[in-house]
Symmetry: C2
Subunit: 281 residues, 2 copies
């Protein structure tokens, strides 16, 4: 039986624990919240866990998954990285990579291999009580190796993705990942937040169609995690915001000029590009 | 048995026809497409129909629903309004109201009563073959009376909404309706189109999470209908686009300045406002 340690049993860590336990792993966890570890044990989500970063506990694992936000992850490695067994392979789930991967790899040197990974899945709720390994089925998983990574490290990340049922595993550089995520995820969250803060919405509920509901689902947002993700990927995100504002401004101009042809051209292009998504998932 | 005529058997007209037939109405239809009428008869969506605007046919109905786009509706009334029986009550489904309601009411004078209505439901596909009266279940329905309307006219619009299973019926003035719809529906479609046209997306499919998919579902857009809706509600829509761009620009500024506190404030407000939507539907 493969033993694995998950550090952080939030929504994603908890969902990983559920899925890996179901796939036959012997899953252990560290979370500083006592209730979380108790809950996970009671519900057979993990085999055992601890509330503390104990050297002897951590040192027994060859494989560790850090399910923390970027800053918590780098802080954790700074404080407790030394407890990790020589030759272990670790991975993570953080939604930004360039600001994380090189720093952690530098810190761990050649003693421990860190392979960056990002499961493209989530929910608008937090914590182990909302965890659900069903969110990974059909979802995408990105691995972000550098020249410090080995085939064995990449294989470990693939193994986790396969065990959890991801639809598609892709390889990107940390920089490519961050640019892609700035557009596909972070910009989408900025748009939802900006839209939802445009005006008071309490009286609007009775007039809402599905389009506004879908568009603003992610406006229900964990402000601590997403502020951190935005600021650790600031350059790429601002470039995408500028590109989007520019397109909005162009569309506004066409509307204000009654330029039917150009509006229709934009809509046709939009429909064509959206169609690539229709056949998958 | 109540007889009713639907003019235009597209997605919405076809869905109305299905729902009203199920609710016990004897539904007739006019659509200039021969195949559409044949399909609707074969599938028992309507009792009978015609491809032509025939005076004797139209003149037998006391109640008519126009399921056309704004321009097609006003053109139709201009050409064939004279065929409508004295004392009849008509309604519609168009997504803009101020540019439609007063013009049609003026044209029909006191001979025929027109009560404006907007079913807040739809799909990203067209035509009778995609029609489905299930789209109205739990959806919102807006009635936009003017001082020309009678209690009987408003009651007719309510009757249709109830027969089709709408969750909530609201009364707004044409102007209030158009401002609300500019924000809740048209701006949402502008955002999806602008986002989807920012960059080529073919290679992005493998990295997409649910948030981007949800945000761009409506980027698959009927360019003729939506261009018409945008341009017939231009003033209100541009005001909403400007308000949204202003919020995006504010958020961009906070991100570029690493202003964590202000970003979190926006996100908290966003979460609070989105929460009003959680309990309904």
């Amino acid at each position: 039986m493969k033993k694995i340690l998950i550090i952080g049993l939030g929504l994603i860590g908890g969902s990983y624990a559920r899925g890996l336990t179901k796939s036959g792993y012997e899953v252990y966890a560290i979370d500083t919240n006592t209730d979380t570890i108790e809950y996970a044990k009671e519900h057979n989500i993990i085999k055992d866990g601890s509330n503390e970063y104990d050297k002897d506990f951590i040192n027994q694992f060859d494989r560790i998954i850090f399910a923390l936000t970027p800053h918590a992850f780098t802080n954790c490695i700074e404080k407790y990285g030394i407890f990790i067994k020589d030759g272990a392979i670790i991975t993570d789930v953080t939604g930004v990579k360039e600001s994380v991967v090189y720093e952690i790899q530098d810190r761990l040197k050649d003693r421990v291999e860190y392979i960056g990974a990002h499961p493209m899945a989530g929910r608008e709720v937090c914590g182990i009580i909302n965890s659900d390994d069903g969110i990974f089925k059909g979802a995408n998983y990105i691995i972000t190796p550098t020249d410090k990574n080995t085939d064995e490290g990449i294989a470990f990340a693939r193994e986790i993705a396969n065990a959890l049922g991801f639809r598609k595993i892709s390889i990107l550089s940390p920089k490519e990942h961050d640019e892609m995520i700035a557009f596909l995820s972070q910009l989408a969250h900025c748009i939802a937040v900006a839209l939802m803060t445009c005006k008071d919405s309490e009286h609007l509920v009775d007039y809402t169609g599905d389009s506004f509901r879908d568009l603003t689902r992610i406006a229900n947002i964990n402000e601590n995690m997403w502020t951190e993700l935005f600021l650790t990927n600031k350059k790429a995100l601002i470039a995408e915001i500028d590109s989007f504002i520019s397109q909005m401004t162009t569309l506004r101009k066409f509307i204000s000029e009654d330029n039917e042809e150009e509006i229709k051209q934009m809509m046709k292009l939009s429909t064509k590009r959206r169609s690539y998504f229709n056949n998958k998932k």
